[in-house]
C-alpha cells in the first residue's frame, strides 16, 4: 500500500493515469509508454497481436483502456447511420510502466477548481421518449425484439477535476467495476457495477445485472430478493439476459462447459441492491482474443435481445453517438488474461462538455413514464456530483 499523498502528486503532475477498482481497493496505472487510438482498421491487429511467451510477466505487461460502442458494433458487422458526434476517439488503450495499489477509501484533497454549469440538458424530452417507446413496443409485438434499451443523454458545459469527482463518487457508490481515466484532453469517470468478461487461462465468466432496487431502511437483502422474485417483469428481463449471456459464452466455450454458477442472486451495495447472475465456461483452445471480444461485446444486458436485430433497431433510432456508453473498459494482459466491464453510470468529459448517458429497458409490460423517470434517477446520482 502506498502513501496517500501519492495520488495527489500524480494528479498534480498532469501525467495521464487510470484508476480501476479491485476486490480490496484500487489499482493505479500511469507512466504510459504507448497510447493506441483504435479505429476499424487497426482494431483487429491490436486484438490479434501475439506477445512472446514469458516465464514471468511484470504487473505492467498489459494494455488498459476502452472500446467505444460504435467500434464494437462495427467489429460484429453492425453499421451505424450517420449520427451527431463529438468526434471522440472510438477506443484508446495505454501501456503502463507503473502500477500502484491504492486503498479502498481514496484520500484526495481537491483544490476545487471545478467550473460547472448546474443545469444539464436532456437530449430527448418525455413526449419524444414516449413516441420511441411505443414504436419499440410494436416491434416487440411483432417479434423483432424481445427487450430493447432506450438511451437518453444529459449534457452540460463544464471543466472539472476528474479525480475530485471520482473520489466523491466512490464515497457515495463504491461500485465493483468503477474506473477513471484522466488524459490530457479528456477524462472518464464511472461507477460501473457490471463485469462483462473475466478471463484467466481457459476460464471465462460474465456477471450480468438486470434489476436494481434502491436501498431503504425498510428493505434488507432478503426482502430485496423477494421483491425481485415476485416481480414478473424484472424476472423475465433477467431470464432473457441470462440465456443471451449463456449463448454468447457458448460461441467460444467447449460444449457442455457453460454453467449458470449463480442464478438470480442479490448483491448489496451502499445505496442499492442488484439482481445478478454469474455464468462461466471453459474456452475452446482455439478461441482468440478477437473471438472473445466479438462474442461478448457489446454487452447484451445494456442492449436488449436478440442482439443484432435490437442493435439495428436502436442505431436507426438514436440521433447521437453513444461514444463510450455501453462500450467496455478493462485490460488485456500479455499472457492473454483479461477483465472488462460494461461502461455505464459514467461521465465523459471532452471539449469542456460533460456527458452522462443512461438507458432503461422496454419489455412488453414496461411503462413509458416509469422508464423515463428510471433513466433520470440513474443520471441524477452523477448529476448531483456537479452541485
Amino acid at each position: 500500500m502506498i502513501k496517500e499523498n501519492y495520488l495527489n502528486k500524480v494528479n498534480s503532475s498532469n501525467k495521464p493515469f487510470i484508476i480501476y477498482k479491485t476486490i480490496k481497493g484500487f489499482d493505479l496505472y500511469t507512466d504510459f509508454s504507448k497510447k493506441i487510438i483504435l479505429n476499424n482498421r487497426n482494431i483487429k491487429e491490436f486484438l490479434n497481436k501475439k506477445f512472446k511467451n514469458k516465464k514471468k510477466y511484470k504487473n505492467t505487461d498489459l494494455n488498459i483502456g476502452f472500446f467505444g460502442y460504435e467500434l464494437l458494433n462495427n467489429l460484429i458487422g453492425v453499421k451505424l447511420p450517420k449520427q451527431k458526434s463529438l468526434n471522440f476517439p472510438k477506443g484508446i488503450f495505454y501501456k503502463p510502466e507503473t502500477k500502484k495499489t491504492l486503498p479502498e477509501v481514496l484520500y484526495f484533497k481537491s483544490n476545487k477548481n471545478n467550473k460547472v454549469t448546474k443545469n444539464f440538458k436532456i437530449n430527448i424530452n418525455q413526449n419524444y421518449y414516449t413516441k420511441i417507446f411505443n414504436k419499440f413496443k410494436k416491434k416487440i409485438r411483432s417479434g423483432e425484439t424481445y427487450q430493447i434499451k432506450i438511451c437518453t443523454k444529459y449534457k452540460n458545459k463544464s471543466k472539472i477535476d476528474p479525480l475530485d469527482f471520482f473520489c466523491r463518487l466512490t464515497k457515495s457508490n463504491l461500485a465493483p467495476e468503477a474506473f477513471m481515466i484522466k488524459d490530457k484532453n479528456f477524462s472518464i469517470i464511472s461507477c460501473s457495477p457490471e463485469n462483462l468478461i473475466t478471463k484467466n487461462g481457459l476460464s471465462i465468466s460474465t456477471k450480468p445485472i438486470a434489476g436494481t432496487l434502491r436501498k431503504t431502511k425498510m428493505i434488507n437483502k432478503k426482502k430485496a430478493l423477494n421483491f425481485f422474485r415476485n416481480n414478473i417483469k424484472e424476472t423475465k428481463e433477467h431470464n432473457m439476459i441470462v440465456d443471451m449471456e449463456r449463448n454468447d459464452l457458448s460461441r467460444i466455450c467447449k460444449p457442455g462447459t457453460v454453467k449458470l454458477k449463480k442464478e438470480k442472486t442479490v448483491e448489496e451495495y451502499k445505496d442499492l441492491y442488484h439482481y445478478v447472475s454469474l455464468i462461466s465456461g471453459k474456452l475452446k483452445k482455439d478461441a482468440s482474443n478477437i473471438d472473445i471480444i466479438k462474442a461478448m461485446m457489446p454487452g447484451g444486458s445494456v442492449i436488449g435481445c436478440p442482439k443484432i436485430s435490437t442493435l439495428n433497431l436502436l442505431n436507426n433510432q438514436e440521433k447521437e453517438s453513444r461514444n463510450i456508453y455501453t462500450g467496455s473498459f478493462g485490460f488485456i494482459k500479455f499472457n492473454g488474461d483479461m477483465k472488462f466491464n460494461i461502461i455505464i453510470r459514467s461521465i465523459l468529459n471532452y471539449k469542456n462538455i460533460s456527458e452522462i448517458s443512461v438507458a432503461s429497458g422496454v419489455v412488453i409490460d414496461s411503462n413509458a413514464k416509469h422508464e423515463f423517470n428510471e433513466n433520470f434517477i440513474k443520471a441524477k446520482a452523477l448529476i448531483d456530483l456537479f452541485k
Partner: protein, 185 residues
C-alpha cells in the same frame, strides 16, 4: 452431423451447445448456407430468431427441398417456419411470453412423449400458430397448460419435429432429454 441454420438469434449458440452433446454440429447464418454441409448433414435445425417466418423465404425453400429426406427440427421461430411452410398462418398473440417459464402438457397424439406428461419450459415468442391447422402427418403434441397454444408438433413419417418453447433455455427443466427423444425418434 447436425446443421443448425441460424436466424441471427441470441439463443442459437445455446441450441448449438445443446445439440453438441449428441453429435457433431455445424452452423451458419441463414443467408450464407453451405450446400456441402447441407448435403452432409443428417439433421437440419432451424434456429430461433427475431421476426416472423415470412421474413425468411430462404429457410422455407430449404425446408421444402429437404422434407422427407432428412430429419428436420425447428425451435421457436424454426417451429413456426416449418408450420408456415406447410401452409399455416403465424399470428400475434394477445399475451406475449418473453423470458417466461410455463408448463406444457403432452396430449395423446404424441408418439414419443407420454400423454399427460408435464414439462416446465422457457418461452420467448411474440407470435403463435393460428388454429385450426391441419397438414398431412403433422400432429400438435404439446400445448400450453394455461392458454392451450400449440407448443410442439411431431411428424413421425417424415421425421420432422418442432418446439415453440426453447429446450436449450435454462428455464426449461430437462431440455436435454427432450432433444435426445426427438433425435432418436
Amino acid at each position: 452431423m447436425i446443421y443448425v441454420i441460424d436466424h441471427k438469434d441470441s439463443f442459437t449458440h445455446n441450441v448449438v451447445h445443446q445439440f453438441s452433446l449428441f453429435d457433431k454440429v455445424e452452423w451458419d447464418d441463414f443467408s450464407k448456407i453451405n450446400k456441402k454441409k447441407l448435403n452432409n448433414a443428417s439433421t437440419i435445425v432451424f434456429s430461433p430468431g427475431p421476426g416472423s417466418p415470412k421474413d425468411y423465404p430462404l429457410s422455407s425453400k430449404i425446408y421444402k427441398q429437404l422434407k422427407g429426406k432428412k430429419r428436420i427440427i425447428g425451435i421457436c421461430l424454426g417451429f413456426q417456419q416449418i408450420l408456415f411452410s406447410e401452409g399455416a398462418q403465424i399470428i400475434e398473440q394477445n399475451k406475449i411470453y418473453h423470458g417466461f417459464q410455463s408448463k406444457v402438457i403432452v396430449n395423446k397424439s404424441s408418439k414419443i412423449f407420454n400423454e399427460g406428461q408435464k414439462f416446465k419450459v422457457g418461452r420467448y415468442h411474440s407470435l403463435k400458430l393460428k388454429e385450426p391447422f391441419t397438414a398431412e402427418n403433422f400432429d400438435i403434441t404439446m400445448r400450453c397448460a394455461i392458454s392451450g397454444a400449440a407448443m410442439s408438433f411431431e411428424n413421425n413419417v417424415d421425421k420432422i419435429y418442432g418446439f415453440q418453447f426453447h429446450p436449450e433455455s435454462f428455464l426449461t427443466v430437462n431440455g436435454k432429454i427432450l432433444i435426445k427423444k426427438i433425435l432418436s425418434a
